[in-house]
Amino acid sequence: MLRYPAIHIDESRCTVPFDCKRCLQVCPQAVFAVEAVKVERGKETDPKEPGAYKLDTPYRDKCVMCHDCLDVCPVSALTITLAEEVKS
């Protein structure tokens, strides 16, 4: 049975991930990704607009729980726990 870390992002705290980018750039395993929530024709999304970008962890299966991201997060938005077992 496999277990993966579950990385919980508190979106009420993590509001401008693209502008902040600390966890995205510090992670040795590159588990994070960031994306504009909506893209408008003819307009660049403002990285400083709260909620315009969303942080995600599509590669969390690579996380070794080194906690570097927790150390650099300025708003304490991240928590990492071991997830439920995965069917394999």
Partner: protein, 278 residues
């Protein structure tokens, strides 16, 4: 020849077939039927790939099955097709494209929130007449685009090659080649999806493999850090570079990084056991 050449090559390498670079400038639209962002074939393909990748957190068997199915879909699937090419082939591609623009890498925006905001920083290549309409989607082309003559584009590719980036042409709908990316692991999605998760379509192995001439290799190790695919190491016993040809993607970065001329590219098809390894 690889399966992409069989389908789109017209007898030669698919990414050197001029047909795969040609596209109309205009299309008559039904009023009000403009496509929203994210409905283009490449985004739909990427979304499907992300959905498949997510299944590994719930059901590993289902994940393996979906990956295998995706790899076998080939041209019938929704996925972009990409293949590793060495610098000299990337230079030939430039001659077939019109126009050629440097722009910010979408993968690095996505995985590292990395912003490239000047021609000096742009690391991704956009090909074809669609680039003329980039202003419609500034979020996609964050930081603008920089159009280059073929000679400038070759210099630009050489610069990224020197820095250690792998060149990968990508299709954008059918066989149309709309991108020539400069990629590395782990921030480039197609390399990561291939190396870590076995999703092949976006990052097929190239038509070459790298061979070391042990008489010329001095064991300096300069090539080691240039391999993005884990195929090359310095063999401690012989103190020579060692390339696992089954792992080699044929990008040629070790070749261009070798000051002794000890590494050269050979045709993948000349090795009976590599002819089906893509």
């Amino acid at each position: 020849m690889c399966w992409v050449c069989d389908i789109y090559g017209d007898g030669g390498l698919w990414y050197l077939n001029p047909k795969n670079y040609a596209r109309n400038l205009y299309r008559l639209r039904t009023p009000g039927a403009a496509r929203a962002f994210g409905e283009d074939p490449e985004t739909l393909g990427l979304r499907r790939m992300q959905e498949i990748l997510e299944t590994r957190f719930t059901d590993r068997e289902e994940f393996s099955r979906l990956v295998k199915e995706a790899n076998e879909m080939r041209e019938k699937g929704p996925f972009q097709i990409g293949q590793v090419v060495p610098l000299q082939d990337a230079h030939k591609m430039v001659e077939l494209s019109g126009p050629f623009a440097a722009m910010s890498c979408l993968c690095r925006i996505h995985t590292r929130a990395r912003e490239e905001r000047s021609p000096r920083e742009y690391s991704c290549g956009g090909l074809g007449v669609g680039m003329l309409k980039w202003e419609r989607w500034p979020e996609r082309y964050k930081g603008g685009v920089h159009f280059m003559s073929p000679d400038e584009a070759k210099e630009w590719l050489t610069k990224w090659n020197k820095r250690g980036m792998v060149h990968i042409p990508m299709t954008f709908g059918g066989s149309f080649i709309g991108g020539l990316c400069n990629c590395d692991y782990p921030d480039c999605l197609v390399i990561r999806h291939r190396v870590d998760y076995g999703m092949e379509t976006g990052c097929l192995k190239g038509h070459y493999v790298a061979k070391v001439d042990y008489d010329l290799c001095t064991g300096c190790g300069d090539c080691v850090q240039r391999c993005q695919f884990g195929a090359l190491k310095l063999e401690v016993t012989t103190r020579k570079a060692n390339i696992d040809l089954l792992q080699c993607f044929g990008c040629g970065l070790c070749e261009t990084g070798c000051s002794q001329g000890a590494i050269s590219l050979a045709d993948r098809m000349s090795f009976p056991m590599l002819q089906e390894v893509w």
